[in-house]
Every structure is written in C-alpha cells, then in structure tokens.
Amino acid sequence: MEWDAPAIILDVRPFGEGDAIATVMTEAHGAHRGLARGGASRGRAATWQPGNLAQLRWVGRLADQLGSFSAELIHPAAALAMDDPLQLAMLSAACAVAEGALPEREAHPRVFDGLLHLIARLPAGPGMLAGQVRWEALVLADLGYGLDLSACPVTGATEGLVHVSPKSGRALTAAGAGKWAPRMLPLPAFLLGAGAGDPVQWRDGLRLTGHFLARDVFGLRHMALPLARQALYDRVARMTETESDA
C-alpha cells in the first residue's frame, strides 16, 4: 500500500533516537499518522516541523498499519513564521486544532484547503486572524457542529445578528437575546462578511469558535482545548488590552 500527496505536517513527536511519529494532513487521506524515519535527526528535522508543506509518500504493507513517511519539503512555513510571535502562535494553533479535532484517515478536503490557504497567507499579519476564525468555523461545520448564522430563531431577522447562543450555536439579534444577552457569545461582524475585523472582533471570534471546539469536539473526548490554541487566544486578548491602553 502506498500513496503520494502534498501534505501539511501537523505534529511531530520524537520516536527512538532519530525517528519521529508524525501526523500529517492531506486532501484525500485527512489526518494520517506514520513513522517518519530520521524525522528527528539533524538532517531531516527542518522538513519535519509543524506547519510545513511537503510532498509526502506513505508506504505500509497493509492499509491499517502505521506505515512510514518520506518527505520532500515544498513550503517551509514554520521557518518563515518563526521570527513573528503572532504568526508562530497562529500556525501552532491551527496545526494543534487540526491534529486534535480531525478523525484519523477521514478526508476533509475543505478543511485541508482552508488550512493550506491560511498557512500561505500567514505573512499577511494579524488580518489573517479573521481567516483563522473562519477556518475553525469550517472545521466545526465539517465535523457536524456548524454554527447557524443565517437568521435569528427568535425574531426571524437576518440582519442585526450580534450574538451566538453558547448552547445551540445559532445567531441572535439583540432583541432576540433579550435578557439573556449577557450570557450570549459576541458574534464578530467579519463572520457575517462585514470587513476583516479588529483585535476585539478577532478575540471574540476565537472565543466563539473556541467555545464550540472545546465543548463539541475536544470535550466529547474529555480533552481540553490544545495549549497552542489557548496561547493564541491569550495573545490576541493581550492585543486588545494594549489597544485599549493606548
């Protein structure tokens, strides 16, 4: 059994002295684990960094075996993001969410394409945080926990949606939320197609998708939201504090 495809490296854990167990994501195979021979060695560690895009070849005697990977680097996203703490935090968070949220060997082509575009556009800076929130909403939708931002279930209005119910994931207007408004999650306007957002909206967006990822995806497996994802939220929350101080 073997396949050859472009893949995003999501996670690499040392195995033995020079090898690694890697989790990658491809368009046709979804999240896939395998043994990366020499993946933790000096010569190949540069390729096996989370976030990198590589041309990957997987070989296994049987389809259900762990198998082994060999990789040729296509785009060194990790090396390009290392100098910028926000880019690095975004890259780590996206890889950690994909690695933890997606079931193994189940194709999610939309999620793969979204992650590919997100990684390619990381150098665009903080503006890509809106893209990251949209991608996380896409992960939720692909896993069957999509947000419904089409209309307020209370008033039926399709305009003026400003909240999301933390229970149902449906958008609400201020009137629809009524006295429950303080318990609702803020809905950032960029998720409805209005602009690219600002630090407050990015923070709210990360809080929104983080809530549902934690409850519906990671929580169901008794896992916490990945540390990298929590660290990204903390970083963006600090951005809003810096902005309000200024």
Partner: protein, 197 residues
C-alpha cells in the same frame, strides 16, 4: 546466554543513546573480557558520578559542585547569560570556547503540541536572575524549531521589561556549507539574517 547478570547488563547498556541491543552486547562483552581494566573502573566512575554530580542551583548545569565551576568562575562576564535548552548545548558552547559569560539551562523547550508548560521548565529561576539585576544581555541559544522559537518569544516578552538586551544566535549558512544543499527554510532564514559586508 551468559546468565541473568549479563542479560541485565546488556539491557541497561541498550538503553543508552547510540546503543541498540547489538552494540550493547558488543560493549558488554568487551567489558566482561577485561573486568579489572575496564569494567571495575567504569563501575567506580559511574557510582562516583551518580553520587557527586547534581544540577547547579543557579544555572542548571550538571557539576559535582554547587554553584557549578562555570558559575563560580570569577573570570567570567556575569552580565551576559546564554540560555540553552540542555546541558549538551552548554557543553557544545564550552567546547567551542565562544562564550565567556554565564549560562542558564532550561531543561527543554515550551511545546504546545507536547504539552510542556512554563512551569515544567527552569524558566522562573532565569527571570529571577534577570530581575535581581546585574544582567545586561541574555543570549537565546535555542534550537531553530517551532518549539525553540515559541520559547524564545515567550522569554523575550518577559525579559525585555527588565530593560535587558535580548539577542538570539544567528540562523543560516553553516561554515563549509554550500547553498544548493541547504533546505528552503534555512535559506530563507539566511537571507533574512543577511548583514552588510
């Protein structure tokens, strides 16, 4: 094969880095063939090292003295602290005789994917050292990996408020290296880190 003692010796040797079961058998055989000349001195040295060597309370280096011989050396520049991931990195810099300041060994790097948090590393003593004053520069000599870079950013954000210069070891062309054999990431880092010549 040679009794449980020999099997246990081979099993323990095989756990050492660089040795697998086959090479552990060869090493055990060599030791057993010359017990007076090799095995007993080695056993004594191992026992002595296990008894005497401890992590330095200041920097985390392994030494039989606390503070270690580097921290206790009055000739060293105490205003410059080089931060490394492990004792192996410290030894590498000492072998090269390129750093005459002090060190701080973190004992690893922050890793969101592996779940290594700041409290799992020797980070708080470093911040305390910097906060106590007398340190003018902190050199971050951490690996050029996602985890190394994450740790470097974490430290930079916490050290800079003390008014201390934070620098990082360069990334790029190795001495004797050729451009065409470098990976894309190293090439990109090398070009970004170019300087007037």
């Amino acid at each position: 094969m040679g009794g449980p003692e020999v099997e246990r010796l081979i099993g323990l040797l095989a756990k050492l880095p660089g040795l697998g079961p086959r090479s552990a058998r060869r090493a055990a055989l060599r030791l057993l063939q010359h017990p007076e000349a090799r095995m007993l001195p080695l056993a004594a040295a191992l026992a002595e090292a296990a008894r005497a060597v401890r992590p330095c309370g200041h920097c985390g280096n392994l030494d039989s003295r606390d503070p270690c011989s580097i921290c206790a050396d009055g000739q060293r520049d105490r205003s410059v602290v080089c931060v490394v991931e492990g004792v192996g990195d410290l030894w590498a810099l000492e072998r090269a005789h390129v750093h005459r300041g002090l060190y701080h060994v973190l004992g690893g790097t922050l890793s969101a994917l592996a779940g290594t948090r700041p409290e799992d590393l020797n980070l708080a003593p470093l911040l305390a050292r910097v906060g106590a004053g007398g340190v003018a520069e902190v050199i971050l000599a951490l690996g050029a990996t996602v985890d190394g870079a994450t740790t470097a950013h974490w430290l930079t954000e916490r050290i800079k408020p003390f008014g201390v210069v934070v620098s990082r070891v360069a990334q790029g062309m190795p001495i004797g290296g050729a451009l065409d054999v470098l990976d894309d990431g190293t090439l990109a880092a090398a070009l970004r880190a170019r300087r007037p010549f």
